[in-house]
């Protein structure tokens, strides 16, 4: 066996530490947004929504279609900043609607009938996997195996240059937008009436129902919030990974986002943010040190398993029901 297939070169990481870190945080912000969907559903239903990765990729397809419709192509368009922001906002709204709609369909088809029957946990997981499969291969049948052509929104420009650390406009947009959205969701769950309902159902569905909370409505709302966030993530995904919009794209990103949710503590909103950023960083650092991006997933999973052995409920642990307003 040849010996140089795995190299451990910390020097490479030292050389490119800041760019690796910033890129990791950018990817991590996207993971975190998707991870929120897993976490919200888990918090309320105590079930993993395996189809959430497809909820996300449906949004990504929507982004590509809307951008194509608006005339975006492989190279960055020449347009005013205001128009560009408007177009991106349009794409984002479309993606959020499509993803939220997909999430709602998943809930109504794969979860609701089983909930009515009081099916065992395993049944929910299997039906969600089935649903994920169905959506994935619907895209396969419709769009074929290859990725959608690039839709470039703008060319990333360096903005800051602090002691040689260059932050570009794309990284800045994604990180800031994602964090702002997550803070909004956190506040939504902590402060609004809907959020109170979500926390009540998460804590004790039966009592919540007795107290006049409409459980079904809360569950649907939770799926749709998670879906909308995945749709938002899809816009950033198309920015950062323009060649990643194909039927398996959701699975590839979803598995990392899921790992992020579990790492931070599934059911914990702040945990999803933390987990997402950490997974982004760990994956990037690992790939850099080991010299091949193929190692990303391997490193992520090894770290995930090790963390779970030490902290079985993830880093931040607690669940949605225990969040205090």
């Amino acid at each position: 066996m040849s010996g140089d297939w795995i190299t451990f070169d910390l020097g490479r990481l030292v050389d490119s530490f800041w760019s690796t870190t910033l890129d990791g945080l950018t990817l991590g912000a996207i993971y975190a947004l998707v991870a929120l969907g897993y976490t919200l559903v888990y918090g309320v239903l105590n079930l993993i929504n395996f189809a959430h990765s497809e909820v996300f990729i449906a949004g990504a397809f929507a982004v590509v279609f809307v951008l194509s419709g608006l005339g975006f192509g492989p190279s960055a368009p020449h347009m005013s900043l205001g128009l560009l922001i408007l177009d991106i906002a349009l794409a984002m709204i479309a993606a959020m609607l499509v993803s939220a709609g997909t999430a709602l369909v998943v809930e109504r088809v794969a979860y609701k009938p089983l909930r009515d029957k009081g099916a065992p946990r395993l049944a929910f997981l299997i039906s969600a996997i089935g649903m994920s499969f169905v959506i994935q291969y619907l895209f396969f049948v419709w769009r074929g195996p290859s990725a959608e052509p690039n839709r470039t929104m703008y060319r990333p420009k360096p903005i800051f240059d602090v002691f040689g650390v260059i932050i570009n406009s794309q990284q800045l947009t994604i990180i800031i937008a994602a964090v702002v959205m997550m803070v909004c969701v956190d506040q939504l769950v902590r402060r609004t009436k809907l959020g109170r309902g979500i926390r009540a159902v998460a804590q004790d569905p039966d009592t919540a129902t007795l107290m006049g909370v409409n459980k079904e409505r809360i569950i649907m709302a939770t799926f749709m919030i998670g879906g909308a966030l995945a749709g938002a993530a899809a816009v950033f995904y198309v920015m950062r990974v323009p060649a990643g919009v194909f039927y398996m794209g959701g699975f590839i990103l979803g598995i990392k986002a899921f790992a992020a949710a579990v790492l931070g503590g599934i059911g914990n909103i702040r945990g999803a943010l933390l987990g997402g950023l950490l997974i982004g960083l760990i994956g990037n650092y690992g790939a850099t040190v080991l010299g091949d991006s193929q190692w990303t997933d391997v490193v992520i999973f090894v770290v995930l398993v090790v963390v779970l052995m030490v902290r079985p409920n993830g880093i931040l642990g607690s669940n949605l029901g225990k969040v205090r307003a």
């Binding site: 089935g130 499969f133 994935q136 291969y137």
Partner: protein, 411 residues
């Protein structure tokens, strides 16, 4: 009310068991009637009928029945081999998902490890020590058990939900490693894997990639052995522990079941069978590379188990065969097979979570005999008006079973 007293009478007990059998019949009329009929046959009759079924299974590719056949699109013998292979895989995954209730989404990883074991130790492309192909079958099982335990040790203590993600990751990692590690030859793969010995009358090798028949027979034979051994496990302390874990893990632990050990045992057993199937696949195809071991195939395996009926050996064998058969028979559907089985999974969970062939697992070695004993007790008890309450001799040796049986001989 005697049923409710602390010391219920023997007579009342037996009559009530008769009523119970009637109850069951009302509930699941068809399956229960069939089972009743089956239980009524003598041992000899049961074995004879089973022999006919097994003989038909062996002869399936030879008979090559019209309508059922997958030809001309796919050679029927090779199709049969693939069906049998899926059946074997389903049998193994059933231990993990169906019996112990652990959701393993990375079962393909064990299948891959088995295939690579066969490749590394027999392929002409491998620089490893070469061993006879048949020796790679047990070796593949040992290696996959090691992998299974290495994966299970850190993860089986975790919450059940996490197992799904970690196994999914494992399946992906095995595929990635096959790509990254140069020794595993990525997409190029290994050619000319070994095959079992034997030549036909012309002196040509018996086991070839184009001749599915001997391979099919080999796998069917293995399925029978594996099914018997798994049946032994099912009707033992091990099988009961698995089902107890599936039903309520905490309660099982509190009832004295070392749940972690038994989960690990289920994981290892499943892994070994998956590895065995992988090595068989490698041998038949004669070529192994990194392309066949993706997660969607893992989900197909899961679909096979769910379709057949989780926890039911015969059911999952049929489930595996069906999942393999449909794309081979209806080639126009082959491109949509993932879509189809995705829909099947959802529909099954909504409308028929017990699968196509549900059956209650019997978990006691003497289970059939106690059912039969109950029946025998019924027949002679009636004319005598049943043994009067409290008439049974208290000494453990003098059983009511013996005394009533004696009574029947006299009549």
């Amino acid at each position: 009310m005697s049923n409710h007293s602390p010391l219920g009478s023997v007579g009342a007990t037996q009559t009530a068991i008769g009523e119970e059998l009637a109850d069951v019949t009302k509930k699941h009329k068809r399956t229960a009637a069939l089972r009743q009929w089956w239980n009524d046959r003598s041992r000899l009759q049961q074995w004879l009928m089973l022999l006919v079924v097994v003989a038909l299974a062996y002869l399936l590719p030879v008979i090559n029945p019209p309508l059922i056949t997958t030809e001309p699109a796919n050679d029927f013998a090779i199709s049969c081999f693939n069906m049998a292979l899926y059946a074997l895989v389903a049998l193994g995954l059933n231990v993990v998902v169906g019996q112990a209730g652990l959701l393993d989404l990375g079962y393909i990883g064990f299948f891959a490890v088995g295939a690579y074991v066969a490749a590394l130790w027999t392929s002409s492309d491998s620089t490893f020590v070469h061993i006879p192909y048949l020796a790679t079958l047990p070796l593949a099982m040992i290696v996959t058990v090691v992998f299974g335990i290495a994966l299970g040790l850190p993860t089986l203590r975790l919450r059940g939900d996490y197992l799904a993600i970690v196994t999914l990751g494992f399946g992906e990692i095995i595929r990635l490693l096959a790509t990254i590690i140069p020794g595993l030859k990525g997409n190029t793969g290994f050619q000319n894997l070994g095959r079992p010995p034997g030549t036909n009358a012309d002196g040509e090798a018996l086991f070839t990639a184009s001749n599915g028949l001997p391979w099919y027979w080999l796998v069917v034979t293995i399925i029978i052995i594996v099914a018997v051994l798994l049946g032994n496990l099912e009707r033992s302390r091990v099988g009961r522990a698995w089902i107890a874990i599936r039903e309520d893990e905490d309660a099982a632990e509190i009832m004295g079941v070392p749940t972690f050990n038994f989960k690990l045992a289920a994981f290892g057993t499943g892994a070994a069978i998956g590895g065995l199937a992988g090595a068989l696949m490698g041998g038949q195809v004669g070529f192994v590379n990194n392309q066949k071991f993706d997660v969607p195939t893992s989900i197909l395996f899961l679909a096979a188990v769910v379709l057949g009926g989780r926890g039911n050996k015969v059911g999952v064998i049929l489930g595996g065969a069906i999942v393999a058969y449909i794309p081979l028979r209806f080639t126009e559907l082959a491109a949509y097979k993932y879509l189809i089985f995705g829909i099947v999974l959802v529909l099954l969970m909504i409308f028929r979570p017990q699968g196509l062939f549900p059956a209650k697992a019997h978990l006691l070695t003497y289970g059939s005999r106690i059912r039969r004993w109950v029946k025998k007790e019924q027949a002679p008890a009636q004319p005598e008006g049943g043994p009067p309450p409290g008439s049974a001799p208290p000494a453990p040796g003098g059983s009511t079973a013996q005394s009533t049986r004696r009574a029947r001989k006299e009549t």
